[in-house]
Amino acid sequence: MTRACETRDEAQLIASVLAGETQLYYELIRPYERSVYMMALSYMKNEADAEDVAQEAFLKAFHHLATFRSEAKFSTWLVGIALNEARNRLRHEAVMRMESIDDAPEEGGHISPAILRDWREVPSEALERKEVREMLQKAITSLPDIYREVFLLRDVEELNNVETAAALCITVGNVKVRLHRARMMLQKQLTPLLRNMNPKRRWIPWF
């Protein structure tokens, strides 16, 4: 029985949950627990609030499951709910950070990357160090909202441009522009920090 459940695909799971097999909802959302939590954390900036927002989002998704349209991707729909939940929570608490669209123009404003002549790759094993993980987390969560959400969906969740545009209700063109800027911001911010892991690298001052 359990094995049979595991092989059911998402559409079947959704139909079953709607038909009253509510326990299958856990199975349906299991692959997305991390994605939803991560999106929530990137907005709320602390684990307790992020967890609360994630729980709320999963609960809302459950109550609105009947409105889910199968032409959309379930993961995109779910992330959209989590984003709304996080944004609403911040709005209610009146702590919406000031890096809104007004302060982060999309067009113009060239982002100069961190300049270096050589780059020795930082291996993934470095992530075993807590301070490296925190450094990356901090860099991502400190990106302005409009860039961070695109970056997380495209480069971390690996949604494509169309899915990302759908989840955020923006155009594909905007996804591309924002993604580029997000990546360049991270390169600029993280490259000097990661350099410190290997002090022998040569640098050119940038003005």
Binding site: E47, S112, M184
Partner: protein, 78 residues
Amino acid sequence: MVLDCKHVWDCISGYLDNTLPREMRDLVQKHLDHCEICSAILDSTRNILILTADDLVFELPVGFSERLHARLDEEMVG
């Protein structure tokens, strides 16, 4: 047409995603072949993307699923 460094920086994302038009990609490639600064910027960006996409960066807190399920159990009934 020869691209300057700043122009190449604007193309880095498209280059990494392989979405540049063929002609532009060739120009960027030509520039990268001889510019060690832009090559290093490209490499560092790619490296940062690999690191930030790693599952280890955003891990679920211990007990997250259990607490989520407990909350859902409580409220799904009503």
